[in-house]
Symmetry: C2
């Protein structure tokens, strides 16, 4: 049996054992994981140095090396995150609905664990710990498939997690790492329908598109964010500037940063040049339509009508529209259904925009950067869903649960 | 542009218009559909006769012809179903959660329409009307792809629905039928990611497996039902007999009928022969393990350890176990996560079974035949989900909705 299949089978069996574990047992296991990571930090850091050395030798970019890099502080952050996770309410077992039928049947819908969750991800070794601990908290088994660029770090983290689980009441097989990071193991995971209940990809556009195209197991699509801010005619100038600068610059590499500003033509005539200049002062490269190129120095033409590329860096496009309708149409055509904002003093326009823009999170007069499980108060985040089924937007603990209907009778049969 | 693509695009555009439609407008459109179906019954019945004639010429089975067949009563039933649907609460717009943050952000999660729902189904023309009207009620556009065996009926029903929609405030393109029933249009639907938000297959195992294997759009898996009743040692004899007979015989062709009885060995020794005889008296062919074959006359050996086949007819398998553990293991190995029942007077065994059997609906002392949106009081049913994401078990109106997070600010930016 292949590594993927045998670990899949072990995870499935562990998932059945997890059903019997109490909240106290799961939290105790999490505390052990936090303590073990801290105790093992030297081992983890030296494994991480190996990944970094290999990454440098392979010519990885500085940005990529930073994603892979661990240090004392980042490991401490992981342990603290786990202690916060322990404090969150356990969603498992919650009664969602009770129906009493005239024939005496009692129909209770309960929140239960999904079973076996697969995660496939790139670079960041912290995803290994996030996914493992969120799965433990929600009573799911998890199969992790990280990238080769972080394989030593992921293995060290997994050894630490396993050492903790062995001291706990939970089955060690509840958390599994696929050690072979070849393409073949990814493809096997895509089609592991016998053991996997869901597969969550986290990483770049190519990874996510590949999973969506090739997986036969149910997938939760995450992450791609071609987000927009629309500055309406009546937008307050300082507010618009602050929100655009925040949404572009505060952390340009993430999915809830914006890639395009859509501006009402009258607002643009009055305040467009000043806004563009402020972006340029902060080192942002600005691309625009012809009108923007002609009005603002240093702006390049948007090439080939490409309104879709995610820059994930200090670059932005400017699109001019005549009304809120056009803005909505542009977003619904090019957006990735992630986070979209309107800046306006016109309540009716705001309502229209929020109702008709097709995205997980829609904002009136605030920065798209808030789309985040922690900012929304969920206390945790396994990813941000950009699909409409099961979970939409930031996914907290509830996104790792499903429901089960329990029917209690005294011999009822159907007439 | 192909038929599928152009109808997909039209449906997507209609879905944006549906966002502005009120509950009153949607219910008025439903009333018009009900009236139009009644008015057009002659036209629909003569189209149906064409399908039946072609079906007979093509040698379709009686059972299949019955699925295709419409009559005055069945059309009347459709119209009455629509009038009941009008009475149900509109789930769209419901506020699911409101969070007020310290920074003044108000985060409201609302229930919204999914967008464009695809249905691919076999034979039964009533699915055309069910899917169209459930989509209208929930503000979704829908693309229907029925089978060639019901193509004249489906087209007549669609013409009637379109005539009704033209008199309504809803866009006619909200409901679309793919008229070309070749394999190519099904394959195009599987990969219509630009326009389809979800695809729901309804039909036989082969159809569902093909969709799960080939679709890149999100799928809700429905229908396959290899269901079991487990008769525990302490099961009350008459109750067990009644439930088994009901779950097998009352409507053997449906997914919530049972295919295997699992019996505790002591119960079997005392009451097994009588139960098997009662099944045989009702015309049920019984297959069993060696022990059952030797004890009960007329029982055939279960061939090739095949515990997976769905008979969908008057046949059943009998499996003997030593305890509830073995019953749970057998079900988790061979079941299709649909509906599973335990008959027992032992509360602890019932709790164990309900917690650990991996299925959408788990029963204590009642027939699996109750797994149904109407029986559970949802007032409607678009299918029965056997997957764990998004919806599980019978899918009512809420299964055709998703959520959207609306964030209201006064210029907040992330620090």
């Amino acid at each position: 049996m292949s590594e993927v299949k045998s670990k899949g089978l072990a995870a499935k069996q562990a998932s059945y054992q997890l059903i019997n574990c109490t909240t106290e047992q799961k939290n105790a296991a999490l505390a052990l994981v936090a303590a073990q990571l801290t105790a093992d930090h030297q081992m983890i850091l030296s494994a991480n140095e190996q990944d970094l050395a290999e990454g440098k030798a392979n010519g990885l970019s500085e940005a990529m090396l930073d994603r892979i890099m661990l240090n004392e502080q980042r490991i401490q952050g992981m342990a603290e995150g786990i202690l916060q996770l322990i404090q969150l309410n356990d969603p498992i077992g919650e009664t969602l609905e009770t129906i009493e039928k005239e024939n005496g049947l009692r129909i209770e819908t309960k929140r239960v664990s999904i079973g076996v969750v697969g995660m496939i991800y790139e670079a960041r070794p912290n995803v290994t710990v996030d996914a493992a601990t969120l799965a433990i908290k929600t009573g799911n088994a998890v199969i992790l498939r990280g990238s080769s660029s972080a394989k030593h770090s992921n293995l060290a983290l997994m050894n630490s997690i396993h050492a903790a689980l062995e001291k706990s009441d939970l089955p060690k097989d509840a958390v599994q790492l696929i050690e072979d990071t070849s393409r073949e193991t990814a493809k096997e995971l895509f089609r592991l329908n016998d053991y996997l209940d869901v597969l969550i990809p986290r990483g770049g556009k190519t990874l996510i598109e590949t999973v969506v195209r090739e997986a036969t197991v149910p997938v939760i699509q995450t992450g791609a964010g071609n987000c927009h801010v629309f500055i309406d005619e009546s937008a307050e100038v300082e507010m618009a500037e602050n929100i655009v600068l925040n949404a572009k610059i505060q952390r340009p590499s993430v999915c809830n940063a914006i890639e395009t500003i859509i501006i009402h033509k009258n607002w643009f005539t009055a305040h467009g040049s000043a806004l563009v200049a402020k972006l340029q002062e902060q080192g942002v490269e600005v691309f625009g339509e012809e009108m923007v190129v002609q009005t603002c120095p240093g702006v390049k033409r948007v090439a080939d009508e490409d309104w879709s590329t995610e820059f994930l860096g200090l670059a932005i496009r400017v699109k001019i529209v005549s009304n809120v309708e056009e803005a909505i149409e542009h977003i619904n055509r090019y957006g990735t259904q992630h986070s979209e904002a309107i800046i306006t003093m016109n309540k009716q326009h705001a309502e229209q925009f929020l109702a008709r823009v097709d995205a997980a999170a829609v904002y009136h007069n605030a920065s798209t950067r808030f789309t985040d499980g922690f900012e929304f108060g969920y206390g945790a985040e396994i990813g941000i869903s950009t699909q409409k089924l099961h979970a939409r937007g930031p996914m907290g603990l509830k996104a790792l649960t499903t429901s089960k209907i329990m029917i209690f009778g005294e011999g009822q049969i159907r007439g």
